[in-house]
């Protein structure tokens, strides 16, 4: 895969991962869903988020040498976190697809 695609995929993974991590927090979950969720779902969201961020690191490492990849990943995390914070403050419904597969009631 060309580097540009790898990096685009890495960016997507960081944004989605940060999205899941944010939805693992009660305050942001209620911005997206009216119903409560079980503690198990919180754990699932955290694991998904962490796995997605880890996947983005792997993608960065595939695209570049380790020193470069570490910098790219660190900066992607910052950009993704700001993006998610802005989405949550303007249009939190945009994050609904991230939890579309989750059942409506706990």
């Amino acid at each position: 895969m060309p580097d540009a695609l790898l990096l685009a995929a890495a960016l997507a993974c960081t944004v989605i991962g940060m999205g899941w991590l944010s939805l693992a927090m009660d305050v942001h979950w209620i911005q997206v869903r009216a119903t409560r969720r079980s503690p198990r779902m919180v754990i699932i969201l955290r694991v998904l988020g962490a796995a997605s961020l880890a996947a983005s690191l792997v993608l960065c490492l595939l695209a570049d040498t380790a020193t470069m990849a570490a910098l790219v990943w660190m900066m992607l995390l910052a950009v993704a976190a700001v993006t998610i914070a802005l989405v949550l403050s303007r249009k939190p419904a945009l994050l609904a697809p991230l939890v579309a597969a989750f059942p409506q009631s706990p």
């Binding site: 540009a4 990096l7 940060m18 944010s22 927090m25 305050v27 942001h28 570049d64 040498t65 020193t67 470069m68 910098l71 790219v72 660190m74 900066m75 992607l76 995390l77 910052a78 950009v79 976190a81 700001v82 998610i84 914070a85 802005l86 949550l88 403050s89």
Partner: protein, 552 residues
């Protein structure tokens, strides 16, 4: 002194952040611009709008250019004469040739180091330089200002206060304050994880401002910390001049030891000598890199002990593929034989190389370049929201007490946030508006910058009278309008004076100029939107006795 640890850190964060924040704003704003310094150079110097060029032939082009540089720059000469214990001779002897380029440079910096006899410093050199077009060796005029690399970039680390390096010391102090602000900010922040993604712009201005300050501070925390730290490390030699001051005898001994080990003499032999074909050495270096399987163009070329029998030529691989810099091959000047290859670096040197390289960004990685630019802007947002929070939290109390503290802070905040952009854009506009053949064109451009900034300061001070009544200064909105107007004018002037309008540069894929134009348009649009909102807010009626919640 304070009731608890958190309060004492809050005090540190508030006051150091405020006082040095104005300097940090300049460091981060011009640092962000410096990420694209070569591209801004292309925009400002239309005659250099060509593709980046590799290192040209030494034997046919560079050798004669070096020979033509007869003396150091006047300011270098003046400084050197102060370091020398005797009057300097009429003509100084060249001791070093250097040429530096990167994968983003269409023009080449060529410089000669002249020996300063009877200097108080060892191996003291004074430099003279020219910028050439590497395709034919044509010299570019001296009074054309490379706005990015020769004005915004030095502004970033020295504020152009060169007297006793005072600017570098101020910026260094500010970087220390940044490190302290990052640590104390983490200590003060009560909900660092719970409010990681929190931004509530709809609520009170104070709440939204603090949210944005915390958000940009926390998510880009590694960036803030590492860039302030690496900035300090780059100039560690200035801040802690142990090597050329305190440990001089040890350093000289080390140099001799190293010379014995590497075969690269620390002193010229005193016997005249000639130089073999440097082009052949460049070819040998490239062959060597190919055999090692690494990409390689010549990034930096240096001839040491020029004209001496023990002259040597150092050829460094450009750093497109890695963060750290410097990887050199050293040839005997008289024979072209390889004397020494830089060995793999040790642990400390590797970390230093990484931090320095990360800050200086000579690599070829456009995604990372943009990400670092965004990181710099996040720092700017963090610092700006810090100022606004300071003012918003205090202005009602100050208005009731009749004190003017928040007025002054607001005026300085306007000057360093919008005022700095006004000054920058005014300089770009002037760069395109001045006649091409104007004498001392660079002086006109530099003066424009300072005059525009001073005007912005005066305007901010005048308009900030509103803050005395706890209202918002109209300067924020008005300077935003100025940014919008100047940004648009700059794009139009570029098209009018050079013909390189966006249609042409985008079609040709000439990104240095297209990119600067697009950023100018984006900034102008953002400034116009901000100006409308700021004007609406400045017109708001202030409640007589508002409750000021204590957030921090």
């Amino acid at each position: 002194m304070f009731a608890n640890f958190r309060l004492s850190f809050a005090w540190l964060h508030t006051w150091f952040g405020l006082v040095l924040g104005f300097v940090l704003m300049a460091a981060f704003f011009f640092g962000s611009l410096s990420v694209f310094d070569r591209e801004i150079d292309r925009w400002a110097l239309p005659e250099t709008r060509i593709e980046p060029q590799p290192m040209p032939s030494f034997d046919t082009i560079l050798a004669s250019r070096f020979a033509e540089i007869a003396a150091p720059e006047p300011e270098e000469l003046a400084a050197a004469s102060k370091r020398s214990t005797q009057p300097l001779p009429e003509k100084l002897k060249p001791a070093l040739f250097g040429a530096y380029t990167t994968h983003r440079d269409p023009v080449l910096d060529v410089f000669v180091g002249f020996e300063v006899p009877n200097s108080t410093l060892p191996n003291d050199l004074a430099y003279g330089s020219v910028v050439i077009d590497p395709r034919d060796g044509r010299k570019l005029p001296k009074d054309r200002l490379a706005l990015g690399s020769a004005f915004f970039y030095p502004m970033h680390y020295s504020l152009h206060f060169t007297w006793y390096d005072i600017g570098m010391w101020i910026v260094g102090l500010a970087a220390m304050a940044m490190l302290a602000a990052v640590v104390s900010g983490v200590v003060m922040h009560r909900k660092i994880f719970r409010e990681f993604f929190t931004f509530r712009p709809g609520k009170k201005l104070l709440r939204g401002t603090l949210d944005l300050h915390n958000l940009t501070g926390v998510v880009a925390l590694p960036f803030h910390f590492l860039w302030a730290l690496s900035g300090l490390i780059i100039f560690a030699g200035v801040y802690f001049p142990v090597f050329d001051k305190m440990l001089q005898p040890l350093v000289e001994q080390h140099e001799r030891e190293e010379a014995r080990h590497t075969g690269l003499d620390a002193e010229p032999s005193g016997v005249p000598g000639t130089l073999a074909s440097v082009d052949a050495m460049m070819i040998a270096a490239k062959d060597h890199w190919v055999s090692r399987g690494v990409p390689g163009e010549v990034g930096y070329l240096q001839v040491t002990h020029v004209g001496s029998s023990n002259a040597y030529v150092s050829i460094y691989r450009d750093s497109t593929d890695r963060v750290a810099t410097a990887e050199g091959l050293h040839f005997q000047g008289s024979t072209g034989r390889v004397i020494f290859e830089d060995p793999p670096t040790g642990a400390a040197e590797t970390v230093n190389g990484f931090l320095t390289g990360m800050h200086l960004q000579q690599f070829r990685h456009w995604t990372l370049r943009w990400l670092i630019f965004v990181g710099g802007l996040l720092s700017c947002v963090c610092i700006t929201t810090g100022f606004i929070f300071f003012v918003e939290k205090r202005k009602h109390v100050h208005a009731r007490q009749g004190t003017s503290g928040s007025r002054w802070v607001d005026a300085l905040a306007v000057t360093t946030v919008t005022g700095m952009m006004v000054a920058t854009l005014a300089t770009l506009v002037m760069n395109r508006a001045l006649p091409e053949d104007l004498a001392n064109r660079d002086l006109w451009e530099k003066s424009t910058f300072w005059i525009a900034w001073l005007t912005a300061l005066t305007h901010a001070l005048w308009r900030s009278a509103a803050v005395l009544q706890a209202r918002m200064s109209k300067a924020w909105a008005e300077q935003s309008w100025a940014i919008a107007a100047l940004g648009a004018v700059a794009v139009v002037l570029n098209a009018a004076t050079t013909g390189d309008h966006l249609g042409r540069t985008l079609m040709a894929g000439y990104w240095p100029v297209a990119g600067v134009d697009l950023m100018l348009i984006a900034s102008a649009c953002a400034a116009a939107i901000a100006a409308r909102k700021l004007r609406a807010r400045a017109a708001e009626v202030v409640p007589v006795n508002p409750e000021v919640p204590d957030y921090a």
